[in-house]
């Protein structure tokens, strides 16, 4: 599989909304208040109002379901969603929960972003799939997003 860097995306999350145990697992929604992204072909800010609607499954895997709006530095709006999985050894996941910085190679945190835009300058985003590798920091995750070539 060949890939190339699309962007680095860093988001800031506000206090998690803990719904408790539901029919699919333990639901926790993390509102996204801010952020920024930068890559060779696009850069800009994450608009407030997005979030990551996560479910902690019975097998210990956290399913991620992120939706954000990206605003490029030249005024385009890009709708971004991504499905992902996060899991790892219990002590590593516990350290992340305590807000510690953890070596991202010690756990699995991968997502598959999709993009939609009506701006012709960024229409290439409508026609690609991507994969990302995440690094969960206390202030919020940092995603290295690669285009699948």
């Amino acid at each position: 599989m060949d890939t190339r860097l699309l962007m680095m995306l860093q988001v800031a999350v506000a206090g998690p909304q803990r719904f408790g145990a539901g029919p699919h697992g333990t639901r926790i929604t993390a509102p996204i208040t801010d952020g920024h992204f930068e890559g060779p072909r696009l850069r800009g800010r994450v608009l407030p109002g997005g979030g990551d609607w996560t479910i902690l499954r019975g097998d210990g895997v956290l399913e991620l379901d992120l939706r954000v709006t990206l605003g490029t530095d030249d005024g385009a709006l890009i709708h971004m969603t991504s499905f992902g999985l996060r899991h790892g050894p219990p002590e590593v996941i516990a350290a992340i929960a305590r807000g510690e910085s953890v070596d991202p190679s010690t756990y699995y945190f991968r997502t598959t972003p999709r993009f939609e835009t009506g701006d012709p300058r960024y229409a290439f985003l409508n026609r690609l799939l991507a994969v990302s590798s995440g690094d969960r920091r206390a202030a919020g995750p940092i995603y290295t997003i690669d285009e699948i070539l």
Partner: protein
Amino acid sequence: MRSRPLMTLRLSTAPTQNIGAGPRGTRLTFPITGGAFEGDRLRGKVLPGGADWVVKRPDGVLELDLRITLETDDGALIHMTFEGIRDDRASGAPYFRTLPRFETAEAKYSFLNRLLAVGTGEISAAGPVHVIEEIL
């Protein structure tokens, strides 16, 4: 991004059901009648009854939405889905990529519940072929 081979999936399809122009584009359903998959860690056959529910968008890109059941040679059932896109007008080679996901209750194959994957597709004379890699 690092990856490693998971399986090669070969599908056989019945005639396309052309639903026609709907609100999101032209809807085409490709029923799947069977197939086979093979990798280092799993192999078996595709059960009949799945399909790829495709929408051709106004920009010419096909949005793929597949659901099938895999049965391994040792009797496990694996629920497989993918979303994907096929862009035959991409510069250079056609762009045909998918994001497969798996669910199974069989402990031997539960690693499939915990991974994301990427498929590279092509249409062979016998039907679609997807080379699927695990994202490490």
